[in-house]
């Protein structure tokens, strides 16, 4: 598989205008971030910090107000069609189409990129089998459990073997055991496919457990910390968790992160 292009976020700013009051709301103040090919990055932040806006901007469904997101030499919003089959998403809820069977749901992105029917079936089937759903390919979503539905959603995302995988609170609504199991599966598959993966979460354990890096967003997606988890011994994960928690609560980097050698967040470029 080819190496996915790097992701460069430069001076990203996103404003929304409230429909009722007409007031402007700053969802993302100014964000600079670089994600290397095949990196697994977990983005953590409190509710309403701009994580989901960043997710929509990454998908390309929203245009930046200022600044840019570049994937290689293309932008996900400006070159929307270029990324068909190259970016795949897993959402908080499974978002399966209720009228399609598990197999047909997993086939959906393959149908959209127009590959032959036989290959669609073969690829979707193989991903469903790998995710333990070989006996449920003809089941409709309402016949599956929450965990099984999320597995179908993961199969749907991996079926196109995307360069970039985006997951927005993908395991947050599942019970702990199922979530941990799916998280591991997701990570293993992402590494195997060689995809760059960006996981948005509010769960610190999930972020530390999954990401090569943990990026901490403050209010309006202010970059508070950029932590390379691999450099940390597992014995210090509890301390790291506490420091991130404190960072999120105070909306400024916790001194312990600096002491422990965390790469400081870039200063704003004005």
């Amino acid at each position: 598989m080819s190496v996915p292009p790097p992701i460069e976020v430069r001076g990203l700013r996103k404003l929304f205008r409230q429909t009722t009051s007409g007031q402007e709301v700053v969802a993302i103040e100014r964000l600079d971030l670089t994600i290397a090919p095949r990196e697994v990055v977990a983005i953590v932040g409190q509710t309403g910090c701009g994580k989901s806006t960043f997710f929509d901007l990454m998908i390309g469904l929203e245009a930046p107000t200022e600044g840019s997101i570049s994937i290689g030499d293309k932008t996900p919003h400006g070159d929307f069609d270029h990324f068909r089959g190259r970016i795949a998403t897993v959402f908080q809820q499974d978002r399966l189409l209720p009228w399609r069977s598990a197999l047909d749901n997993a086939k959906l992105p393959l149908e959209l990129i127009g590959i032959p029917e036989a290959e669609q079936r073969e690829r979707a089937l193989s991903w469903l089998k790998r995710l333990g759903l070989g006996h449920f390919i003809n089941a409709f979503p309402h016949e599956l459990s929450g965990g099984m539905r999320q597995r179908v959603a993961i199969a749907r995302a991996f079926a196109v073997q995307p360069d970039i995988l985006l997951a927005d609170e993908a395991f947050g609504h599942l019970d702990e055991v199922t979530a941990a199991e799916l998280r591991e599966t997701f990570l293993a598959l992402a590494r195997e496919c060689g995809s760059t993966a960006i996981l948005i979460t509010h769960q610190l354990e999930e972020a530390i457990g999954v990401g090569d890096r943990v990026v901490v967003f403050g209010k309006s997606a202010k970059l508070l910390a950029d932590i390379h988890v691999a450099q940390w011994p597992k014995s210090k994960y509890a301390l790291l968790r506490e420091a991130i928690q404190s960072t999120l609560q105070s909306n400024k980097p916790d001194p312990r992160l600096k002491r422990l050698g965390v790469k400081p967040a870039r200063k704003k470029k004005n």
């Binding site: 998908i59 390309g60 469904l61 929307f80 069609d81 990324f83 068909r84 089959g85 970016i87 795949a88 998403t89 959402f91 809820q93 978002r95 189409l97 209720p98 009228w99 399609r100 959906l108 992105p109 149908e111 959209l112 409709f140 309402h142």
Partner: protein, 257 residues
């Protein structure tokens, strides 16, 4: 088992015991009234016996049934396609929706009889008149239902679909159309009933064929049994069409809980 469950198990085609009994009681009461009519001062022809009605049913001309059925089905298909196309255009263009919405409301407010009179005054051809009335009455119902259904497609599903970057055509074929199918079936059932009633009035006024025309002939001949016979045919036609739609609905929407 509760009554609802019995009905729900095979919509449209079951003939539950309760229905059979209520119809039987009604038939017995009718026969009794027919028998007692002269002694109650009611002219015998006004309440024909079941035997007389059965004889009238025996004289029914299938060609008139076929003509009415063809008019109803043809007009419903044309109305559906027109309603669907306009709904898709209005869903995609807010400006178009703002301009068309008042006209649709106006069309829906005009009584059916007025449309029939307009058709008689404006158009020379009988078939075109009937088709026009049916489309102008049923089309807006399809349009409004379809547009509402499109707007009700969950934002989460639309967002998911868009994230996979479909073309506009793929977006409609893979997401919007399947999502609105349940509403389309409901709309068809409503419109079948509406179309049967409208086509009867339209044929009554301006046609020389069809069930409406035969009802008009029966009325001129003071043949109440013939009126009953044709009415029974109309009701049976309505039930048959509804049963067919329900059967297709059950088959296509088996994914529903």
């Amino acid at each position: 088992m509760p009554h609802e469950e019995l009905g729900a198990s095979a919509p449209g085609l079951k003939f539950p015991r309760q229905t059979f009994i209520s119809l039987l009681v009604f038939a017995i009461a009718w026969q009794a009234l027919s028998y007692l009519a002269p002694s109650l001062g009611i002219p015998p022809f006004a309440v024909p016996s079941l035997v007389r009605i059965a004889k009238s049913i025996g004289t029914i001309t299938p060609i008139d049934i076929a003509v009415t059925l063809a008019r109803v089905i043809g007009a419903l298909i044309a109305s559906f396609l027109l309603g669907l196309a306009l709904a898709m255009a209005m869903y995609n263009s807010e400006t178009l929706e703002k301009y068309l919405h008042p006209i649709i409301r106006l069309f829906m407010a005009v009584p059916v009889v007025s449309w029939i009179l307009f058709a008689v005054l404006w158009f020379p051809g009988v078939e075109f008149r009937i088709g026009f009335v049916l489309v102008v009455v049923c089309g807006p119902v399809f349009l409004v239902d379809t547009l509402d259904a499109m707007r009700s497609v969950p934002r989460e599903l639309r967002h998911m679909m868009q994230s996979f970057r479909p073309t506009t055509l793929q977006y409609f074929i893979k997401l919007m159309l399947p999502a609105i199918v349940p509403t389309i079936f409901t709309s068809w059932k409503v419109n079948i009933s509406l179309a049967i009633r409208v086509v009867t009035i339209a044929e009554l006024v301006g046609a020389v064929t069809g069930i409406g025309h035969q009802l008009s002939v029966a009325q001129e001949l003071f043949s109440v049994s013939d009126v009953f016979a044709w009415t029974i045919v109309l009701v049976a036609l309505l039930f048959l069409l509804e049963a067919i739609v329900s059967r297709v609905e059950t088959r296509l929407l088996r994914w529903r809980i």
